[in-house]
């Protein structure tokens, strides 16, 4: 097998606790995450709100500091690059942020925002920008006339698609999509997902696809990593994770998905209570206080389970066995 396009190893991201959170107790958002994404592959990252997905995403792009671990992109250590070399490498690695509204400059017209990458990297003669912008907007299902508008004149879903077009404009090798289709209605969403898949097939584009909507994940992902309290608790092929999850958290997540059918039984809420405090993580299994697994025991509380192969997936649970 060839080397992966993106390789993340033991990544740690902490936010200083000084000032507002308890001094000296940093917020441990990401605690030793490892995964890789190959060319032409989509890895979905799912997990509880606040589990560290966006922190992970920003750090992979080197938009914020890390406290440990490595990020290798195309074989080079991203954190070792400086100045021009870093900026050039950045073209190949793009991100669509979770909050579309604040990811667009309020003082920059849509057309200029989409063309910005072309300008920075001189990817096309200036005369060609409008046509490129129009084509990109069209591809994400937007009227090219929107190029003349300001961001605040767009709907939430329109802004989200502009952010996608802006990231795709520079023809990256990998795009991190942080909840990038969450503001789209299902038919536009399907159109955008088809676009992403087509680009993947045509250009070998890879995606790190962060999403809460597991049905969408089922549609686009090859593999899935499940994050809980800043750690990967389960990882494996999409089919196995979504149909036969081994980790109790993944199982609870799937059970809570509401079916798009009014006559279906209501989703089951297996998880009660709050996720652990990220500035005081317990020594044992982070799920322990709320774990629905019948075999949960004192061992779980005392010792943190490591990620280990369980059937077709890897799960971090002492009692993970065949699907529950």
């Amino acid at each position: 097998m060839t080397a992966p396009l993106l390789e993340v190893q033991d990544l740690v991201v902490h936010y200083p606790g000084g000032g507002l959170f308890r001094r000296g107790a940093p917020v441990c958002a990401v605690n030793g995450v490892s995964f890789s994404v190959a060319r032409g592959e989509t890895l979905a990252l799912v997990g509880e709100s606040g589990s560290g997905k966006s922190s992970l995403a920003r750090t992979i792009l080197r938009l914020q500091a890390k406290q440990g671990g490595t990020v290798r992109f195309g074989g080079t250590d991203l954190f070792a690059l400086r100045g021009r070399a870093l900026r050039a490498e950045r073209r190949r690695l793009q991100i669509v942020f979770q909050d579309p509204a604040s990811s667009l400059n309020p003082r920059m017209r849509i057309g200029d925002a989409v063309a910005e990458g072309l300008a920075i990297h001189a990817l096309a003669p200036r005369a060609e920008w409008p046509a490129r912008v129009a084509a990109l907007l069209g591809e994400v299902g937007l009227d090219p006339a929107l190029a003349a508008r300001w961001p605040h004149e767009l709907s939430g879903g329109q802004k989200q698609r502009v952010a996608i077009a802006r990231a795709l404009a520079v023809e990256p090798a990998l795009v991190v999509l942080d909840e990038a289709v969450s503001a789209l209605d299902v038919s536009v969403q399907a159109q955008v997902l088809t676009l992403l898949t087509t680009l993947q097939q045509r250009r070998g584009l890879a995606y790190l696809f962060i999403a809460h909507d597991l049905a969408v994940v089922a549609q686009v992902a090859h593999r899935v990593a499940v994050l809980y309290a800043g750690r990967v608790v389960e990882e494996g092929p999409v089919g196995s994770i979504l149909t036969a999850p081994r980790h109790p958290y993944t199982q609870a997540l799937l059970a809570a998905v509401p079916a798009p059918d009014p006559s279906a039984p209501p989703p089951r809420l297996l998880l009660q209570g709050d996720p652990p405090d990220p500035s005081a993580l317990p020594p044992g299994c982070p799920l322990w206080p709320r774990c629905p697994h019948p075999a949960r025991d004192a061992h779980c509380q005392a010792e943190r389970p490591a990620l280990r192969p369980v059937g077709p997936t890897h799960a971090a649970c002492h009692h993970a066995g065949p699907a529950a």
Binding site: R58, L61, L63, R87, A88, R90, R91, L93, Q94, I95, F97, D99, S102, S103, L104, N105, P106, R107, M108, E116, G117, I120, H121, W150, H152, A163, R166, V170
Partner: protein, 276 residues
């Protein structure tokens, strides 16, 4: 709609704009129609004439036409104020952007300097320098008012830049590979322009007053060049006998400052069509 149009739509803003336009027009065109402000037509027969048809605002102790001097003084006072503020804002914006964007020790060093400078009252600095100089040329006065006037602006710009830096669109530009120059020009400056415009406008009012104050103390614009503050300075002895000599420049100062502040407030209240 431009910011100008929206200021016009505001009642106070429109009043301010009208008064300012009137003053500027007067300063530009007035001297063409009015007597020479240096002329002393009847120095021999009588000074301190009350307003008449020939001298709409009367004459001063040297028999010069007060209206002509107020109008010429407007040229001096307004250009000193605008020049000084432009200089101050450029310095302030530059320092603020560098401090906010570079962060770290650069930021710390710049901001400690600003803190120190802000701890000394500006008027004290100005008095210190002007008092040690025999005659202060106009250019030096502009320079002085500008160099002592950027501290507050740099703080404002820095805090705006810090706020903007935490937003995803600045990070997004970084992720696209934008260099520091581009981020400052395309993403930071356009977004601090609005608070900067407000601060600038309000600062013009301040500087008009400062210059008037200095000139009133005889430390600013030097006679015989007329400036509003300088005219009041020269008119001091005749305050009771010939009130028009000091009243006219006084009213001009009040009008100009009021107008500038009205415009500034209209700009500050305006959200520029952006969401809150």
């Amino acid at each position: 709609m431009t910011a100008l149009q929206r200021t016009w739509a505001d009642r106070g803003g429109r009043g301010g704009l009208l008064v300012l336009a009137f003053l500027v027009l007067l300063a530009l065109l007035g001297p063409l129609a009015l007597p020479d402000p240096r002329a002393q037509p009847d120095l021999a027969t009588g000074t301190l004439r009350p307003p008449t048809a020939a001298h709409l605002l009367g004459t001063d102790h040297l028999s010069r036409d007060v209206l002509s001097r107020v109008v010429t003084g407007a040229r001096v006072s307004l250009s000193v104020a605008v020049g000084a503020v432009l200089l101050a804002v450029t310095l302030g914006a530059g320092v603020g952007v560098v401090a906010g964007y570079a962060g770290g020790w650069v930021d710390a060093a710049l901001m400690r300097t600003v803190d120190a400078a802000l701890a000394v009252p500006r008027i004290f600095l100005l008095l210190l320098v002007t008092a040690t100089m025999e005659r202060i040329p106009l250019g030096a006065l502009v320079l002085l008012l500008g160099v002592t006037g950027w501290f507050g602006t740099s703080r404002l710009v820095r805090s705006e830049v810090l706020r903007l830096r935490a937003l995803d669109f600045v990070r997004g530009a970084e992720a696209l590979g934008a260099g520091p120059g581009r981020i400052v020009r395309q993403h930071l400056l356009p977004n601090v322009l609005r608070p900067l415009t407000v601060a600038t406008t309000l600062a013009v009012g301040d500087v008009i007053l400062l210059e008037a104050g200095l000139s009133f103390l005889g430390l600013g614009v030097q006679p015989p060049m007329p400036s509003w503050g300088g005219m009041i300075y020269e008119a001091r002895p005749y305050l009771v006998d010939a009130p028009w000599t000091s009243l006219a420049p006084g009213v001009a100062i009040v009008l100009a400052v009021l107008a500038v502040n009205l415009v500034g407030e209209a700009l500050a209240a305006d959200r520029g069509g952006l969401p809150a």
